[in-house]
């Protein structure tokens, strides 16, 4: 009996995890093309590329960073609601490291000096990331060893984490002037600097999941953790890894987001961003609640989709508050693309019918 190694079929394209996120992105860009003529206009200004598309890239970076980590967590069958709070904690820690005096006396002159930072740059970056990773570890321990349901376990850090972040800075918004730090979110090498950071993060994640057995194990644990146990896969270690990595990604997202607005705002940084990240992953085709197969690239595209919606709506003049409603509708439309019935319909339309396979 002949058995074929995977050959190219149109079906492979439509069944690939990338298909629907790309369709979603295409639909939104199509909408932009029709309604916003200047949307695709890219110019070269101040030494870098400039335009709405570039805006989407820049503003989506925190969510894309979150989505990369969140993909692994959701693939294990869990979810991490605390990433927004972790972003806030990271933001507070970084701000304080740069200028611990900001809460006490008014060192006015020093405050506005772009070369001043109380702690060296690498500490300002590394320490918050370590804190974020520890938060991820906390979540991971609760879920993997404490066997607490992920939504519930991460809810705890989500609630108290923001309190902790506010505690650190006494609820004050702290402005950041330190040049190297501001470069993260505001620097350009033709394209936004944060893009390079996130690409690096993506490559790191890809190497860790697809060039080692970790990715396969994550999928295996998500699909059937009991069978995985019988095969010698330690579900605890895998889940722990996923949550730790997610915490780390949240740390990166927090640093980028803080740098984007050059302010550390413990009350509102990352507020509701976890929801955007979860949606990005869902758009990317990873099943929320069940887990299993995942695609980092699809989730990243999902993040772009979320931001594209926001930027497009701003471009046609929708106000920030009403944007929420539009986002809700768009999300529903996109999710419907995934609904079984609609998928079946699309398959019929594209003329794909499953071949009858005969038994030998």
């Amino acid at each position: 009996m002949k058995r074929s190694k995977s050959s190219f079929e149109w079906r492979k394209v439509t069944e690939s995890k990338l298909f629907f996120p790309l369709v979603a992105l295409a639909l939104i860009l199509l909408f932009d093309l029709i309604f916003i003529p200047t949307f695709f206009h890219i110019t070269f200004q101040q030494g870098h590329l400039y335009g709405s598309l570039i805006d989407i890239l820049r503003n989506s970076m925190p969510v894309v960073a979150l989505a990369i980590g969140m993909t692994l967590v959701i693939a294990t069958g869990g979810v991490d609601l605390s990433v927004g709070a972790i972003m806030a904690i990271v933001s507070s820690v970084a701000a304080l490291l740069m200028n611990p005096f900001v809460l006490g006396t008014q060192l006015q002159a020093i405050k506005n000096n772009p070369t001043y930072s109380y702690s060296p740059f690498w500490v300002v970056i590394l320490l918050p990331l370590i804190v974020a990773t520890i938060c991820g570890l906390w979540n991971g321990l609760l879920v993997a060893h404490g066997k607490i349901q992920p939504m519930v376990a991460t809810l705890i850090l989500m609630i108290s984490g923001r309190g902790i972040a506010q505690l650190i800075t006494n609820s004050q918004k702290i402005q950041i002037f330190y040049g190297p730090f501001r470069y993260i979110g505001n620097g350009w090498i033709l394209l936004p600097f944060s893009l390079f950071i996130v690409v690096f993060l993506y490559v790191l994640a890809w190497l860790l999941t697809r060039r080692t057995a970790i990715g396969l194990f994550i999928e295996s644990v998500g699909i059937n953790s009991r069978s995985s146990l019988f095969s010698g896969i330690d579900e605890k270690k895998i889940k722990l890894f996923a949550y730790v990595f997610c915490g780390f990604c949240a740390g990166i997202a927090g640093l980028i987001a803080t740098s984007n607005i050059s302010t550390s705002d413990a009350t509102s940084l990352g507020l509701n961003t976890e929801l955007d990240a979860i949606l990005a992953v869902v758009i990317g085709g990873t099943l929320l609640g069940a887990g299993g197969r995942f695609s980092l690239l699809a989730s990243a595209i999902g993040g772009l989709v979320m931001q594209a919606v926001t930027t497009s709506m701003y471009a046609i003049g929708v106000s920030a508050n009403s944007l929420l409603a539009v986002k809700g509708v768009v999300v529903i439309l996109i999710i419907l693309l995934y609904a079984q019935q609609v998928q079946g319909l699309i398959r019929k339309i594209t003329g794909r019918t499953k071949l009858k396979e005969t038994k030998p």
């Binding site: 979810v79 404490g146 066997k147 607490i148 349901q149 939504m151 519930v152 376990a153 809810l155 705890i156 850090l157 989500m158 609630i159 108290s160 984490g161 923001r162 309190g163 902790i164 506010q166 505690l167 006494n170 609820s171 009350t267 929801l275 979860i278 949606l279 869902v282 929320l288 609640g289 106000s319 508050n321 009403s322 944007l323 929420l324 409603a325 539009v326 986002k327 809700g328 509708v329 999300v331 529903i332 999710i335 419907l336 609904a339 079984q340 019935q341």
Partner: protein
């Protein structure tokens, strides 16, 4: 009796978290009353109920949704939408007795739509209700970007009415311990929900759908139960509850704005968990919703009465307590799983587990209580340690009518400061010609500044964003040394009143810039005669 108790618990392990909640509530209240004399007032206990009919109703609805194995994140959005829609309609002079049922119908409809998506289109509840929240809140902002004040007579009546508790109050002087009508309605909903959950087929079907990772839902379907219909209905019911919560909130704040209920879903879910309902579904008691809410509000109240700690401690405390209950639920679940799998956890192991868990929980609670009672000042603000003795005075009532008439008479700014350690009530009016009057109930004073000063003050206020929606009213129970502020400003054809309480983090920070300016310009009252 111990024998009966232990059989009761071994047969109904799920009662354990609920019992723990109830016990915790009473312990916490007792501890609070022991350390903080301010808590011994019966009214404080009743205020636990008075403050939160909206939260209670939301938690009741959410509990049912969670028991059915789902989740509803849209509560905050629905609340915001309900408040703004009703405020807008009332402003357009609609009859409140038409508006209220209409809002309830709207909430139910939106719930039904979400339920439909979840049940028939297989959208994950997390996502469908998240979208619902966004749509609800977005629509609320679409109706009005700024807050709309509700001046309707009926709403005002419902807010102001105090139902005096017989035996604890003096009917003649209309003073004493009271509850509001909203509480009565909320309790009626509570009783009804309890009945539904245990005595109707609808309620039992809800239980049969949740839990076991969807296995129960599958079984229920095969058993011929109307699973789809029930799922849609439970979200419809929660939509109804969210709308009702919105009505309560609009009565309480007498306004409608898109910002209301922001972040509410978190508190609601925490309260559901604390109330003993597992987020996995299939188990839980509506009765627990009441105690989940009470504990959450109790924490807030205790923190505010104590006056030393800032409200972000509330967040941390709620997180800690949620952790406790989640741990409790999961220990019980693990015990049960061990049972079903047929493996018997050895006696020593079980004792060890219980000791470990009990010890850890006790440690956490003891630490929390210690931190609470002993922690030195951690505020930014003007609280001092001496203020930990109970209030020596009775707070005076506010005077919004007097302020309104002052504005009508030509004042451009009216500013009332109420509260503080000495329970003052100072009402100032600033006129365009530079005249400033002040009235604290016993004295009347006056001061004259230039009209240029007044203009400068007005433009400062306007530049601080007074007339944008970055400036909005907030309100919470003030600490003993805190003040409540009512400020109305009329400038270039716009007039806006913003209310705030200091000592917290909910008010927009620019508000304090404005009141700072006031304190520099208004005359000072002499000592009381």
């Amino acid at each position: 009796m111990m024998q009966n108790l232990s059989t009761l618990f071994s047969k109904n392990r799920r009662l354990l978290p609920l019992s723990a909640t109830i016990i915790l509530f009473f312990i916490a209240y007792a501890v609070g009353a022991a350390y903080l004399p301010g808590m011994r007032d019966t009214q404080v206990f009743l205020n636990l109920f008075n403050q939160t009919p909206y939260l209670l109703v939301s938690v009741i609805g959410e509990t049912l949704v969670v028991i059915s194995g789902g989740i509803d994140l849209s509560v905050g959005g629905m609340v915001a939408l309900t408040t703004t829609a009703s405020a807008a309609l009332l402003r357009a002079s609609w009859n409140p007795w038409v508006v209220m049922p209409l809002m309830l119908a709207m909430g139910a409809t939106m719930g039904a739509i979400m339920g439909y998506f979840i049940t028939y289109l297989n959208v994950q509840p997390f996502i469908a209700t998240l979208a619902g929240m966004w749509i609800g809140r977005g629509l609320a902002y679409f109706i009005s970007n700024e807050s709309i004040v509700i001046n309707d007579r009926i709403y005002t009546l419902l807010d102001r009415t105090k139902i005096l508790i017989p035996g604890l109050s003096n009917v003649v002087t209309q003073k004493g311990d009271y509850i509001t009508p909203s509480v009565v309605i909320a309790m009626a909903v509570f009783v009804a929900a309890n009945y539904i959950a245990h005595y109707t087929r609808f309620g039992r079907t809800i239980y049969s759908i949740g839990g076991a990772n969807g296995a129960n839902e599958q079984s229920a379907r095969l058993m011929g139960l109307p699973v789809n219909r029930t799922k849609v209905l439970v979200y419809t019911f929660n939509g109804f509850c969210s709308a009702l919560a919105g009505i309560f909130l609009s009565i309480y704040t007498r306004s409608g704005q898109g910002l209301l209920g922001n972040g509410m879903e978190l508190t609601v879910i925490a309260a559901v968990v604390i109330g003993g309902t597992s987020l996995i579904g299939g188990e839980g008691y509506v009765f627990g919703a009441l105690f989940g809410v009470l504990i959450t509000i109790l924490i807030q109240t205790m923190i505010q009465i104590q006056g030393h700690l800032i409200t972000w401690w509330t967040l941390i405390m709620v997180g800690v307590i949620t952790l406790f209950f989640i741990g409790l639920q999961s220990v019980i679940a693990n015990l049960k799983i061990g049972q079903i799998a047929g493996t018997k956890v050895s006696r020593e192991k079980r004792i060890r587990q219980v000791l470990l868990y009990g010890g850890g929980a006790a440690l956490v609670i003891v630490l929390a209580v210690l931190a609470f009672a002993v922690l030195p000042n951690a505020t930014h603000g003007s609280a001092n340690a001496a203020a930990s003795t109970s209030r020596a005075c009775q707070p005076k009532p506010f005077r919004p009518d007097q302020a309104a008439s002052l504005m009508k008479a030509g004042a451009v700014i009216s500013y009332e400061r109420n509260g503080g350690a000495n329970c003052i009530d100072e009402l100032y009016a600033i006129y365009p010609d530079g005249r400033i009057t002040g009235d604290n109930g016993t004295q009347q004073i006056e001061k004259q500044v230039t009209s240029d000063d007044v203009d400068r003050l007005l433009s400062f206020i306007s530049n601080a964003g007074w007339f944008t929606d970055n400036m909005f009213s907030t309100s919470h129970v003030p600490c003993k040394v805190c003040y409540t502020y009512f400020t109305s400003v009329a400038y270039k054809g716009q007039e806006k009143t913003v209310e705030a309480v200091d000592g917290g983090t909910d008010a927009p920070p620019e508000y304090w810039l404005v009141t700072g300016q006031f304190s520099m310009i208004v005359p000072i009252f002499g000592p009381a005669p």
